[in-house]
Amino acid sequence: MTYSYYPGCTLRTKAKKLDTYARRSAEALGINLEEIEQWQCCGGVYPSVSDEIATRLSSVRTLAQAKKAGNELLTVCSACHNVLKRTNADIISDADFNFRANNYLELDERYNGETKVVHYIEMLRDAVGFDELKKKVVNPFKGKKIAAYYGCLLLRPGNVMQFDDPENPSIMEDLIRALGGEPVIYPFRNECCGGYITLEDKSLAQKRSNKVLASAQEKGADMVITACPLCMYNLVKNGTEHDLPVYYFTELLADALGVKQEGEGQDNE
């Protein structure tokens, strides 16, 4: 199985772990990731309003490139996933945006939303299968109580993202089970960590992140996993009232699959 892979800018720098382990795990699972050539930043946040055209163009370009390769487009970062998937939905449902974006980009072939955007976890569920994944686990996280942190971007808006039930998701919990851990369900797993507000109002980001961690801790979590570099930053840097370790889900995955090399200890521990 081959996917067009879109890492996104943060995975090249601050969130190298998210990327490295995603690639290594994919290899172990027999999934081929072909990085898209000359990809551009997705823009970081989806512009919610309908008259923002330019800010969505780079995403359309990425989507069109995946279409050329004929593969589904795989993302790992929640934010990139949200922006790309929603932009793709807009191309399909918003004729005005489709018209303007295509006219502006002047691609070889008009892009009409042909690419399917898939998140890495969806790939694990649908292409690999959690049962199959379980069979390939060599270092199960036995007895570990792991809290999945979805944040807002993977799930919302539910009708576009169609990732899971936006209020009561279970996909990351299923992943944790497949890796041998014990999922911890806590109410703030789908509430915002504060996101980019850390630059505008640090105290608000601290408040939100602490709230998330407190909720996970109250339900007995040993660690938290996330798919988003910004959530990671907020939970670690702003959620200072709690010392729950936070990992990228790919790191756990690589560890469980035995492809995490010696010396790459869980440095958040």
Partner: protein
């Protein structure tokens, strides 16, 4: 050539404001056959009808066109008026220039032009109309009520009291419906069981009533006055004639772990069970999915205990066929399970319940004997939050678009009853609007606020979550302009009501139309609220829309009156717009009989005499009492022998021509 009169109605300003009625009348005058044309303010009024009658006599009219509202509205009115003036009623045609013209167009010129075309089409049709005489058919003097809740019980009782036979079909093992599950009823707080159970006994004891419990309607054929219905009796595995209802079998059943539906799953019942103490008929039923004997032939304990030898594991499903003159739909409602609204944590937190579940938790005959205990740990909740409008009044695909109507009142009831039992309970109600339009309703709600000190918070809840053993409710208080979080012990969701899912297939069987929410539609929203557009099918209770008990009971009575009015007739006038065979060109190919959904077409050997031929051959004959006039045969006939009276090929072609020209 007909002598046609054209009457253009203003409908006050409804038509006249957008259609130049004078111009329409003027244009009609120039049409072939039109000898008289006029306009009037309200054609349907007494004086409007007089104008029509006088003109028929004065001008010797043989055909009439009324340009007015939809024929579904007043066709019958005008036909009756014409008949009283000596004209055959089927010589009247309506041009719909209100619903299909003046109300949908804004520009006077455009609307007038269209109205003239519609008038011309109707005139062209009337040119070809022929006087029709309606036949008659027998009325079967028996009614069927589908659903045995309070609506069905009341309708059946009223029909039975008038002296007609009536059958109730109830899919549950007992009648009583949702009302039997309720504790007290608003706004008088009388006990639901105390007012319902005597009615259940009355209806069961009535000599004119037959109850088919644990049964479903599986097929409906026929038409008003003469329906043939198949009822499937599901096996109870109990011989009804032998069983004494002692209940000994239910006590000894080893499979005691089945969730009890009547108590919303809060306690358990056996595989053989009587739904509740006052069930009617008071007979046990065996849950075939749980019974060891039925599943693998091992056990048979209940059969050994039963002194009356009433247990019959071999019982099979039975189909009963019965004929009815009228059918009443009383299929009721369900409260939705708010699993789609996980922001309220219904799935994840056991102490978040729906209001019907709360009703059972409060009920003296319920799983906790009336002691309020929260489901998670059996503790008495000290702080309770009620959330209104869960799943109602929405616009997204999750919610129902309508107001469920009863929630405001039952929540006030729950709050007061809880405070009555446990005065130290803190009660908060999140509401969007309080809707109390009913007699003594607002006073009731005010009592909850003023006397009982229930805290009503205008705002909606954004998230419910569990934290440190409490149910945290985060919502907005719009009056104080604050976001608040209440640490509650229990949360009660007033989730939306929806029509019972069985209604959908029933609607198809009855060819009774439903709205987009699967509520049955009424023949007229204001003037015929208890009749379905399908003749002979009547509506009672929640199957037509959300309503409370008093409204349900009054609608049930109204439906009964309509049924009685129908059954009181010995004969019904048929629709004369039925198929007719031109036997001189019929070749007896049988194609029409194949497509006829009613079996109205038979074949006879008949001598055919035309100028060219004189022979005996097989030709089609239409049974006018059975034909419903759909017209399927007319199109299928290869020799165009079949035609539909009132909608003949030539008439429709004339309309097409008039529109296209």
């Amino acid at each position: 050539m007909q002598r046609i009169g054209v009457f253009v109605c203003w409908c006050g300003s409804n038509i006249a404001a957008t259609v130049d009625v004078k111009a329409v009348a003027e244009a009609a005058k120039g049409q072939p056959g039109v000898v008289f044309a006029t306009d009037y303010q309200y054609m349907c009024s007494e004086s409007g009808q007089t104008i029509l009658k006088d003109a028929i006599k004065e001008y010797g009219l043989t055909g009439v066109v009324i340009c007015s509202c939809s024929p579904r509205m007043h066709e019958a009115t005008f036909r009756k008026a014409a008949e009283s003036a000596g004209l055959n009623p089927y010589m009247v045609e309506i041009a719909n220039i209100r619903e299909q013209c003046s109300w949908i167009h804004k520009d006077m010129e455009v609307a007038t032009e269209k109205a003239i075309i519609l008038a011309k089409a109707a005139i062209a049709k009337v040119q070809l109309n022929k006087p029709l005489v309606a036949g008659e058919s027998e009325v079967v003097k028996r009614a069927l009520v589908i659903g045995g809740g309070i609506a069905g019980i009341q309708t059946a009782l009223d029909i039975a009291e008038a002296g007609y036979k009536v059958d109730i079909v109830e899919k549950q093992p007992t009648i009583g419906g949702k009302m039997a599950q309720l504790d007290k009823t608003f706004p008088t707080l009388d006990c639901a069981a105390c007012i319902l159970t005597p009615k259940m006994v009355d209806v069961a004891a009535h000599e004119n009533v037959t109850i088919y419990s644990y049964s479903e309607v599986v097929d409906v054929k026929g038409f008003v006055g003469n329906f043939t219905v198949q009822i499937k009796k599901k096996p109870r595995y109990i011989n009804e004639n032998l069983c004494t209802g002692c209940g000994a079998c239910t006590e000894k059943c080893p499979m005691k772990k089945q969730p009890n539906e009547f108590n919303m799953g809060f306690d358990k019942r056996g595989a053989i069970y009587i739904p509740f103490a006052q069930a009617v008929p008071k007979l046990p039923v065996i849950d075939a999915d749980a019974c060891l004997m039925l599943k693998n032939g091992k056990c048979g304990l209940c059969s050994k205990i039963c002194e009356a030898h009433a247990i019959d594991y071999t019982q099979k499903e039975e189909i009963i066929e019965e004929r009815y003159g009228a059918i009443v739909v009383a299929t009721g409602f369900n409260q939705i399970k708010p699993t789609q609204f996980e922001e309220y944590a219904y799935n994840t937190c056991p102490d978040v319940v729906t209001s019907l579940e709360y009703e059972r938790l409060m009920n003296a005959a319920g799983p906790t004997k009336g002691h309020l205990q929260r489901p998670s740990d059996g503790q008495r909740p000290k702080t309770i939050v009620f959330i209104q409008c869960v799943g109602s009044r929405g616009d997204s695909c999750r919610e129902k678009s309508y107001c469920s109507k009863i929630c405001c009142m039952y929540t006030a009831k729950h709050a007061m009853l809880t405070k009555d039992h446990y005065p130290d309970t803190d009660i908060h109600v999140f509401y969007i609007d309080i809707r109390t339009p009913g007699k003594n309703f607002d006073e009731f709600y005010r009592r909850a606020v003023e006397q009982y000190g229930v805290d009503y918070i205008k705002g909606m809840v954004g998230k419910v979550y569990e934290e440190n053993g409490k149910v945290m409710v985060q919502g907005s208080d719009l009056i104080d302009n604050k976001q608040i979080t209440i640490a509650a012990d229990m949360v009660v969701l007033a989730s939306a009501v929806e029509p019972d899912p069985s209604a959908r297939s029933l609607g198809t069987m009855l060819t009774a139309s439903m709205d987009t929410n699967d509520f049955f539609t009424e023949a007229h929203a204001k003037l015929r609220p208890v009749e379905s557009p399908t003749a002979g099918v009547f509506l009672s209770g929640m199957c037509q829309g959300p309503k409370d008990i008093p409204e349900t009971v009054s609608q049930a009575g109204a439906a009964a009156v309509k049924v009685i009015g129908l059954l009181a007739k010995d004969k019904l006038k048929n629709n004369p717009c039925v198929a007719a065979c031109n036997q001189s060109v019929c070749n007896g190919c049988s194609q029409c009989a194949n497509v006829c959904p009613y079996g109205a077409i038979t074949y006879v050997e008949k001598e055919i005499r035309t100028p060219e031929v004189r022979e005996v051959r097989r030709v089609a004959e239409v049974n006018e009492a059975v034909c419903q006039g759909c017209g399927a045969c007319t199109v299928t006939c290869p020799s165009s022998a079949m035609d539909l009276k009132g909608f003949t090929n030539r008439q429709i072609m004339a309309e097409v021509d008039a529109i296209c020209r």
